[in-house]
Symmetry: C2
Subunit: 417 residues, 2 copies
């Protein structure tokens, strides 16, 4: 059976077993007025944003150039807001992009008190600049922040800050002459208190930066996955796999490097003795197969209930669109399923297609899964660029992101002309 | 049964299941000559250390003062060495303590590519300055670094750098007039590559700082532990609980804060459905009890085999001393044992004493364990400052650390007079 946290026993005291859930609930509801600093505590307030513009604007690189000397290329500005337990959130600032000054004793450098979000701004074919469901990212950033003992904030303010940042750097860095292009946004929170004691940091900083990123949704021949090694588990019940905290990433780099050296794109993370399929790299993982009993076509993906996988914004959007737009052809199934089930479906010719979804990889077709010496080949469609459903979902989402379809998920950034 | 990683199945391919172990083994053996950068790669070399002394030396605080405005008080200098995949290790530098400049895209701020060590320098009663088993810390730093995809290095060089650093700051910050005092050393590695792609960082920095720290081994009335909540697991088989990486700390702060708010000192981390006792906070955990069958006195602690707990230097030293010095009275038992066994022993009056061990907490007596609404009271000895074995072990170790006993574990730092 799957690993699980310590269960309650007969005489369990509820307040002893749900320590984390209680703490998270409490902190997510927290705000300036109720957290014990009534007099001086300031809440994060996007309307106070100050602007200091760069005096040395950078040149926008040619389309497709995404890094320089192994470093990400960021836009002219960044957005920062500092926080202290005592005074709350300082005035957010938009200022020139550049290095931070950080003490060697800062919490983030030792105890991984850090979390982030990833979302993209899209330059539409109609010339407008859009964000895709930024409310979901802001809400998840709050959840991650609280899980890693960083401050709470009203998520709507973060959404406003993202939009205000893009209103400044969007026009130049996602020019209207490049419709169909995007830039990657990275809201981040770090613990900055310069204190080596192992404790929740009393000082923190939020920052938002924007950088170019490669299109990763169509690797030639599809993405190949290598199942996770027996000696490495990415996340576990009672852990923090559902939160976008740094602690989910660093420890998985080793296996990923090794898999890449063997010619695979990402690790397919298995979980528990049965080998449940969870995530592909840092993306959600989907299989389309014919149900063994009914013969019906199913879109299968891991469930959110056990908090092992990330509640991906793209995942959520894919499931909703498939439910809304092709319920007659494909049934959406969120359940635990094992690598052995995938192999069996492969051997019985029931696999239709497979893809990974995430902000970075968007919707990326998968062509092969390597598991314990065996290769499972996945159909890649007529043009070898992804199966039918994969292609359909990509088109639907791109149409929303780039303004070909008017949809409430796409939020227009007001740009000065 | 206990959670475990995905097992090999019949037709398993060995190289597919031991990806992590292979990668770690490979990297730990790596050195400049063999890692593909023969021409330009430089190994870490302590003999090249450069010295830039501070021009604004700080005042040593009064004995017992350990922080200022919620920040750790560090010594006048720090030691840094930068690394790049291409060129290897730059010349290590001793320089004035102060903030780093770090790019917002630095790996460590997003992906928790960070690891550290904790050890102390001791001012002996004979006036000499000593480190306690620094070779163990240097070796573990290497293991942690490789596990979190940071560079390898010859651990002996780190040992030399620690000693060189203390030779400079030791005489002033651990003055001979304060025998029996210590300072805390924090060697750290962080990933500094300014690249948002999720990948092993191609640039890193090692730094060593020294700060004051409270004596934490004798809280009035002993330390009280609260067992971990059902919804939080610290570490798991196939994870990284055995490595001193930031990712083990940040995620546990939430439960610890909640436990502290309820009047407990630390969390006793349970593991698996049976509730195996693993660590107390970030310290190793020990129980002394009478064996149910034989009546013999046993010192019980969790084993290292499943890589869930940290291979503590103090833990290792405690076990070795007890085996060497009181094998007739106490049997050392390293095995999995459950909280239910502890409760049963308590109910049958078989608990003799309990303590936690680590560099920060040293050897800290435990007076109570709270589990699911029940209190397990632990005997604290005649003077209520710890049981007989706890006190004995503390005395032995202190005698070695502070030079009352000549022992190979205590390494003298050569100081200029």
């Amino acid at each position: 059976m799957a690993p699980s946290a310590v269960p309650m026993n007969g005489q369990a005291n509820a307040s002893d077993v749900d320590l984390t859930a209680t703490a998270i609930e409490h902190k997510m509801e927290e705000n300036g007025a109720t957290n014990g600093h009534k007099a001086t505590y300031q809440e994060l307030d996007a309307s106070k944003l100050t602007y200091t513009f760069t005096k040395s604007p950078q040149k926008v690189p040619a389309a497709g150039v995404i890094s320089f000397e192994n470093s990400s290329i960021c836009t002219d500005h960044m957005l920062t807001a500092t926080w202290s337990q005592k005074n709350g959130w300082a005035t957010p600032e938009l200022k020139p992009y550049g290095p931070f000054s950080i003490m060697p004793t800062a919490s983030v450098l030792h105890y991984a008190t850090e979390c982030f979000e990833g979302l993209k701004a899209y330059r539409g074919y109609d010339g407008k600049l859009r964000l895709f469901r930024p409310d979901c990212n802001a809400q998840r950033l709050l959840m991650s922040s609280v899980r890693i003992s960083l401050p709470s904030f009203p998520p709507g303010e973060v959404e406003k800050l993202i939009s205000a940042f893009m209103a400044v750097d969007g026009p130049k860095w996602l020019p209207r002459e490049r419709p169909g292009s995007f830039i990657y946004l990275r809201p981040t929170l770090i613990g900055t208190q310069s204190q080596l004691g192992v404790q929740a940091p009393a000082e923190a900083m939020m920052f938002i930066i924007a950088s170019y990123m490669a299109e990763m949704d169509s690797p030639p021949g599809g993405m190949k996955l290598h199942t996770s090694p027996a000696d490495m588990v990415r996340a576990w019940a009672g852990g923090f796999g559902y939160a976008k905290v740094g602690a989910n990433y660093g420890p998985s780099l080793l296996a990923t490097s090794e898999a890449r050296a063997r010619g695979f794109g990402q690790i397919l993370w298995l979980y528990g003795e049965q080998g449940f399929c969870t995530e592909a790299g840092a993306s959600n993982f989907f299989v389309v197969w014919k149900n063994k009993e009914t013969g019906r076509t199913e879109l299968v993906t891991a469930p959110l209930g056990d908090k092992i996988i990330l509640d991906g914004v793209t995942r959520r959007s894919v499931l909703q669109l498939v439910r809304e737009r092709c319920a007659d052809e494909v049934e959406v199934v969120e359940r635990q399923y094992t690598i052995d089930e995938v192999i069996e479906a492969h051997e019985e010719g029931r696999i239709v297609e497979s893809f990974a979804s995430g902000t970075a990889y968007f919707v990326c077709p998968i062509s092969l899964i390597h598991h314990r010496g065996k290769d499972v080949a996945i159909p890649m469609g007529k043009k070898n660029d992804g199966g039918e459903l994969t292609t359909k979902v990509k088109t639907w989402l791109k149409d929303i992101m780039y303004g070909r379809e008017d949809h409430p998920w796409a939020v227009v950034v007001p740009e000065e002309q």
